[in-house]
Amino acid sequence: METDIRAHTSYVPHSAQKVRNVIDLVRGKPVHLRNPSDARRAGIGYLPVERKTEGLVLPLTLRKNITLASLDRYARGPFIDEKSELRRARHWSEALRIRAPSIEVNIGGLSGGNQQKAVVARWLDAQASILIMNEPTRGIDVGAKVEIYTLMDELCHGGVGILMFSSEMLELLAIANRILVMSRGRITAGYAHGEPSQEDLMRSAVA
């Protein structure tokens, strides 16, 4: 994953100043990204493809899943300040319009789209300014997909850089500011929004 980040950072869309700072940090000291903890500290969040096996901690509640990457902030010595934790979790749950009967439900009981939003909320709570989303809409029904796209758009406008990996051409054409096509581990083409046709993308993908 580390190589991927470095290969792509200079092309991250919508480089708001905040994002650029982090990218410089990442680019300037690539050795510091040895593991996901380092990436988290550098302000990079990751949404895995396999939501249930790599994203969520299924036995835990929505609240505990949202604050998983930001426990530092709620630490009062060795203890967790559950009051402020709860407040922040509620805040994100409302801000991202996560539909759940309560913040204390088991995450496993939520729908795919709401689970995905919970993972996004986790990284926002960890104050990530770069989100790497690996197939963010896989296994999510159409209605929820649109919601995820809207959310991504809002995040971009709020200064979060999003690096999305996707094999769905239409969603790339619709929402990406820049598209990089990879084939056999190498970047074969780069396009701006509205530039390429599906045929262009396919051609670069098999190049």
């Binding site: 593991n35 299924l58 835990l60 309560s102």
Partner: protein
């Protein structure tokens, strides 16, 4: 939970989603009640079958034997919640007691300090287990089975397989004194369990333990240092085990290099019986306390009813199978 319900769920009727959770909660509540009923039933049966069962001295006796199991089980519970499985607890308990007794008997270390030495042995054993599993990526069950052999071998070597009496009063307060008429071991267990409960419920360490046990991959991707947490958990499990070994030695007034051998079955069974998920991510200390009481009562009742000691071993095995079967039922259809 299936993706197909998304559309319905997303549009309206959030209460519909409460159903699985309410069901789970009801199930959990039912199970807690069932466990308490099982305990009451056991006590009832044994009071009928033996006149020696239901009286204060015997209850305190149960309390004391339960205490030694419970101290270990508190650590094992936290370990299992974090997905750390340790089969070496009995060997660690015995090795800690042996080295502590050597420090006292042969090296003239004062009793309290000798106990600290024993606890340090526990921490070191846990460090060894943890390094083995997290460093060499060895399966924890096999890894700790191997270290159990090593630790037990060292305990035998150091004592030449002999038992030694320890007559010092300074060594006996831990397992034999009775402040306010309550066996000190029982008090020790309650303290250990209270601390374990606070760790699990209120501390960051506890939260991370539930997280890495529930899903180590997701926890790692969320920036939690899973290996380090596992290492700490191994050390914590071994620390509790060594404390239980010291209390047992103190209670017996003798150092026996295999005094705890075989007890890991009961300890692990009691944690699982009490609701700790074998797959990690779930469990409570209160549950383990009830689990420990059930197994302790069972053992004591069998002894009091003059049941052959070999049958007790069989009972332990059966109890473990029942506990694991309940665990399967609990998580059935969940993953």
């Amino acid at each position: 939970m299936t993706e197909r319900t998304d559309a319905i769920d997303d549009q309206a009727s959030p209460p519909a989603k409460e159903a699985p959770k309410a069901r789970l909660r009801r199930l959990a509540a039912k199970e807690a009640v069932a466990l308490l009923v099982a305990l009451a039933l056991l006590m009832f049966v044994f009071s009928v079958t033996s006149p020696y069962f239901l009286n204060v001295p015997n209850m305190l006796n149960i309390g004391r034997s339960v205490a030694i199991m419970g101290i270990s089980a508190a650590g094992v519970t936290i370990g299992l919640i974090g997905g750390v499985f340790d089969l070496s607890i009995a060997a660690v308990a015995d090795l800690a007691a042996v080295i502590s007794s050597i420090a006292f008997l042969n090296l003239g270390v004062p009793p309290v300090l000798a106990m600290v030495v024993g606890l340090c042995v526990g921490l070191l054993c846990g460090l060894g287990n943890g390094r083995l599993v997290t460093g060499l990526r060895i399966n924890p069950i096999i890894g700790t089975l191997a270290t159990a052999g090593i630790y037990r071998g060292i305990a035998f070597l150091l004592t030449s397989g002999q038992s030694h009496a320890i007559s010092s009063e300074g060594f006996r307060w831990l397992g034999r004194s009775r402040p306010l008429g309550i066996p000190s071991a029982l008090i020790m267990m309650l303290i250990v369990m209270a601390v374990a409960h606070v760790i699990l419920r209120y501390m960051r360490f506890g939260r991370q333990t539930y997280a890495i046990g529930g899903n180590p991959i997701a926890s790692r991707l969320a920036g939690i240092n899973v290996d380090r947490q596992r290492l700490y958990l191994f050390m914590l499990v071994s620390f509790c085990a060594s404390l239980s070994g010291l209390v047992l030695m103190s209670k017996l007034g003798t150092i026996i290099p295999n005094a705890s051998a075989g007890t890991e079955l009961d300890v692990i069974a009691s944690a699982i019986l009490g609701g700790t998920a074998l797959s990690g991510g779930a469990g409570t200390i209160q549950g383990t306390l009830v689990g420990v009481l059930i197994l302790g009562t069972l053992r004591n009742g069998l002894v009091i009813n003059n049941v052959n000691a070999y049958w007790q071993e069989i009972a332990s095995g059966v109890a473990l199978i029942i506990a694991v079967a309940i665990d399967r039922l609990r998580s059935g259809g969940y993953r």
